[in-house]
């Protein structure tokens, strides 16, 4: 059995000090430097030009090769990449942490454009399960329908489907905005924690089931409310904001936003106050 105390060889993480920190239970405070230079891009990302455009035919490439090719093109400064013949391949366009105009001329399979942080994506077709899963920032527009788990665990950005979506849309959503022009399936907003969902059409059963926080706006009929999801009155700021978002999404121009139903968490299943650990009470 290995003796961890006598092991001399340090891992890379240990040599960087990641394993030697003293955990006192207090935050290791980090401060902003207000004099930081103006910079809009992450360290290590590519400087691309939106006017530099190229077509990429992925007919004979598998998803790994296609994604590597997209990265290569960005490193050459291409800011607009048009993907031809995606043919429903899975996991295309994932992990793009750059500003970029990415256009798919066709449909995507499962887990398309997941974990992106920044790009503007347009998909001129349909998408399979879990499109834009874990998206951090950017804008994704799908011209047709989407499968189940649309925008699962989205953390930020705008995710727009002009058609209808399947079940569990926005499951575990932690931020950002999901906009659906058509109908949505059962368990929409299941366990959502933050962010906003706008559905212009009808929604299936158990809307917002077990949601912790966040807001769901529905334009059509609601199959049924999920556990702890309740209706809340629409405010002027809700109406103004939805109108603005629909303009960004290029849908619902003549839609009467004021008649939408606003759904929020009832906060009866959970309550941060009530969940404060009793140990803290004992500590004082």
């Amino acid at each position: 059995m290995a003796n961890l105390k006598t092991t001399e060889k340090k891992t890379k993480a240990q040599s960087m000090g990641l394993h030697s920190e003293v955990l006192t239970g207090k935050t290791q405070q980090k401060f902003f430097n207000p004099d930081e230079a103006e910079n809009f891009y992450y360290w290590g990302t590519y400087d691309v030009d939106f006017n530099k455009r190229i077509d990429l035919d992925v007919n004979d490439l598998d998803c790994k090769e296609a994604n590597k090719k997209i990265d290569e093109l960005m490193s050459q400064g291409y800011g607009t990449i048009v993907i031809k013949n995606p043919q429903g391949k899975h996991s295309l366009g994932v992990g793009v942490l750059n500003k970029l105009n990415l256009i798919f001329e066709g449909s995507l399979g499962y887990f398309g454009v997941g974990s992106i942080d920044g790009p503007t994506v347009r998909i001129n077709g349909r998408v399979g399960w879990s499109c834009a899963e874990n998206m951090m920032a950017g804008k994704v527009v799908i011209e047709k329908n989407a499968g189940s788990c649309f925008g699962a665990a989205v953390r930020g950005g705008d995710l727009i489907c002009k058609g209808s979506v399947g079940a569990r849309t926005g499951i575990d959503q932690k931020g950002g905005t999901i906009i659906v022009g058509g109908d949505a399936g059962a368990f929409t907003g299941f366990m959502m924690q933050r962010g906003r969902i706008i559905i212009l059409g009808n929604v299936g059963i158990n809307l917002g089931d077990s949601m912790y926080d966040g807001t769901i706006y529905v334009g059509g009929k609601i199959g049924s409310f999920g556990s702890d999801a309740i209706e809340s009155p629409m405010t002027k700021s809700d109406i103004d904001w939805i109108k603005r978002k629909l303009k960004v999404a290029e849908i619902g121009e003549n839609f009467d936003v004021s008649k939408m139903t606003k759904v929020v968490a009832g906060k009866k299943l959970w309550n941060y106050d009530a969940l404060e650990p009793t140990e803290k009470k004992g500590a004082i």
Binding site: F32, N33, E36, F40, W43, F50, D213, V248, K280
Partner: protein, 135 residues
């Protein structure tokens, strides 16, 4: 005299917090502030957007604040702070920055500072990226 001590510490907590201090019964009982006690569902007022944020939106090719709509000024350990999701921790606002009295303006400042922090070569993730990036 344990009773006097606990009174003093709760007064200190009240002094350093954002906006008007309204302790909940629960906070009084545990003697600590509960994080996230600002409105996380507050929608941004675009008339209060800062010039820096306008430039950022333009540079990224977006139409609005995008992911920054979910960024709000909170506080941690009695100091105003913003949560950096990339570093998974709170980043504290320096004392010399004076904060306005309403949440909309405070949130805009939080957004601006967070962008500057995340895009800085001094961000904690830069070292990790250098060490571990695969491609």
């Amino acid at each position: 005299m344990p009773k006097k001590k606990s009174k003093k510490s709760s007064k200190k907590t009240a002094k350093g917090q954002l906006g008007k201090k309204k302790e909940t019964a629960r906070e009084k009982m545990i003697g600590q502030t509960i994080g996230y006690r600002y409105d996380v569902n507050l929608l941004p007022d675009y008339s209060r957007i800062t010039p820096f944020l306008k430039k950022y939106i333009e540079a990224m090719g977006w139409d609005d604040l995008n992911w920054l709509e979910d960024v709000h000024m909170g506080y941690e350990e009695d100091r105003p702070a913003v949560f950096d999701r990339n570093a998974n921790g709170w980043v504290t606002i320096p004392k010399k920055i004076k904060l306005p009295n309403n949440q909309q303006d405070r949130d805009m400042i939080a957004r601006e500072l967070l962008v500057k922090f995340q895009m800085s070569p001094n961000h904690p993730l830069v070292d990790l990226k250098k060490a571990y990036r695969k491609f």
